[in-house]
């Protein structure tokens, strides 16, 4: 490792002085961010953001692009390969043993093989993926509309959210897995699909094989990859960290339309 040596220069001294002079102000702001109450105050605008967005565009359709707009590369963010023994076996066999379990508050829980999902009505869309980190990329997605799955399993009265559980562990010991949730408005939106193809080929492992969510009007972290189970629920308060998703449990907003 490189050892940092300080060259005695006025410039370096000034930089240091600025750093120390601002330490008090900094410490104050950082302490604020770490209080219980401040994030609560800051997040009071969340329902406002979501409410207004819903009011003005509940049924709006995300912009769709053409083949000419496809990005040459589509980054893999977060997990690039779940790498568990079960997942590796699926990859080796071309996902023939993979099953998507759909359960929760539904009249008829079901399991779907990849072939069964591919046999259902499909939707193809070229859309832009917007990451919370700022980058975006355009790809072509083909998959089964989530509404078609819900029609088959029949959500019961009182259902409010659809949960997505993923094959990728977010901690070494597997204590946290990636998961996400969306409300029923988004679940039945025509562009909300469970994608199994990307750019006219089977969804690659780095992008969530064999099945990932596309929920086009929200940021990338909502688009759960490696989905193995779906559950319809009336509340996610008792699930994992209780905030409705892996990143939500780590401070990110549940409604990710901005």
């Amino acid at each position: 490792m490189t050892r940092l040596q300080r060259r005695p220069s006025r410039r370096r001294f000034l930089a240091r002085a600025t750093a120390f002079a601002s330490a008090a102000w900094l410490a104050g702001c950082d302490r604020l961010s770490r209080t219980e109450w401040l994030p609560k105050v800051l997040n009071t605008v969340e329902p406002l953001n979501e409410g207004i967005a819903k009011a003005v565009g509940r049924n709006a359709m995300a912009q769709e692009f053409t083949e000419a707009d496809l990005s040459p590369t589509f980054r893999s963010n977060g997990t690039a390969d779940p790498g568990t023994a079960e997942y590796n076996a699926w990859v080796a066999s071309g996902f023939v043993d993979y099953r998507l379990a759909v359960a929760g508050m539904v009249a008829s829980p079901r399991q779907f093989s990849l072939a069964q999902l591919r046999a259902l009505p499909a939707r193809t869309q070229i859309t832009r993926h917007d990451c919370v980190e700022g980058w975006s990329a355009i790809a072509k997605w083909k998959g089964v509309p989530l509404s078609a799955i819900l029609d088959l399993v029949q959500p019961q009265p009182g259902s409010r959210y659809v949960m997505f559980y993923c094959a990728d562990a977010m901690t070494k010991d597997g204590s946290e897995i990636y998961y996400e949730s969306i409300d029923l408005d988004d679940a039945v939106h025509p562009q909300t699909i469970l994608a199994y193809d990307m750019n006219d080929a089977a969804l690659p492992v780095p992008n969530g094989a064999p099945l990932r969510l596309r929920v086009e009007r929200q940021l990338g972290y909502k688009h759960a990859k490696y989905i193995t189970a779906i559950a319809v629920v009336d509340s996610f308060a008792g699930i994992a960290g209780g905030k409705g998703g892996y990143w939500e449990d780590h401070g990110y907003q549940w409604w990710a339309g901005i």
Binding site: T2, R11, R16, G134, Q218
Partner: protein, 213 residues
């Protein structure tokens, strides 16, 4: 960040030329004074360390404060005639434009009656900020929202797409920083105490015209 045999420095490359910006850009000193590889020093950021989730919480809360405050100001400025009376340049202003630029470059500031009203460059700067940069910041912020993108298909393409909108959002932010820097500089050099008092109480001591004017 660049590593040499004996030291690490922060480097900023502008059009192929490299500048040592250690302490400010590239390599900064963290909250405890320790060197950190980061774009900006902690004192320029909120929160100080890289913490995107918390940064978004601050951003969206103060975006509302900014929007409501801005709307209130614009409504008040129109209703009270502040906009037409004090901010809109009149014909004399436009005629004096070149002279005003000259005066500013020589740091010659208006005295007498002229000091009690905004000069033409001041008016234009305020109008550009109020009706250009600030609405642009909001609009380009909207352009970064996938949900708001969907409201009117293709509207973000008008500025060249989402990444262009993102660049514009940041460029506008830095232009606002530049405006504030110049604004505060002018407040200080034209009489800090007199200016501050007039902002708060309305009492302003008019600078006397010097002999050579």
């Amino acid at each position: 960040m660049k590593e040499h045999a004996d030291s690490v420095i922060g480097v900023t490359r502008v059009f192929g030329r490299e500048f040592d910006t250690t302490g400010y850009l590239g390599l900064v000193y963290g909250v405890g004074g320790e060197p950190v590889a980061a774009a900006f020093p902690p004192w320029m950021m909120l929160p100080g360390a890289q913490w995107l989730a918390m940064a978004r919480a601050w951003h969206f809360f103060f975006a509302w404060v900014f929007l409501l405050n801005g709307l209130a100001f614009v409504v008040y400025a129109i209703a009270s005639h502040h906009l037409v009376r004090d901010l809109a340049p009149d014909r004399a202003d436009w005629r004096g434009l070149l002279g005003s630029i000259r005066d500013h470059l020589r740091f010659r500031h208006p005295a007498g009656a002229a000091a009690t009203r905004y000069n033409v460059l001041q008016k234009l700067a305020y109008l550009v900020v109020i009706f250009g940069l600030l609405p642009m910041a909001i609009l380009m912020g909207f352009a970064l929202s996938p949900w708001l993108n969907a409201l009117l298909a293709g509207w973000v393409d008008l500025v060249g797409g989402r990444q262009s909108a993102r660049a514009l959002h940041f460029i506008v932010a830095w232009l606002l920083v530049a405006f504030v820097a110049i604004h505060v500089f002018q407040v200080i050099v034209t009489g800090l105490w007199n200016n501050l008092r007039s902002m708060i109480t309305g009492r302003y001591r008019v600078p006397v015209e010097s002999a050579h004017d």
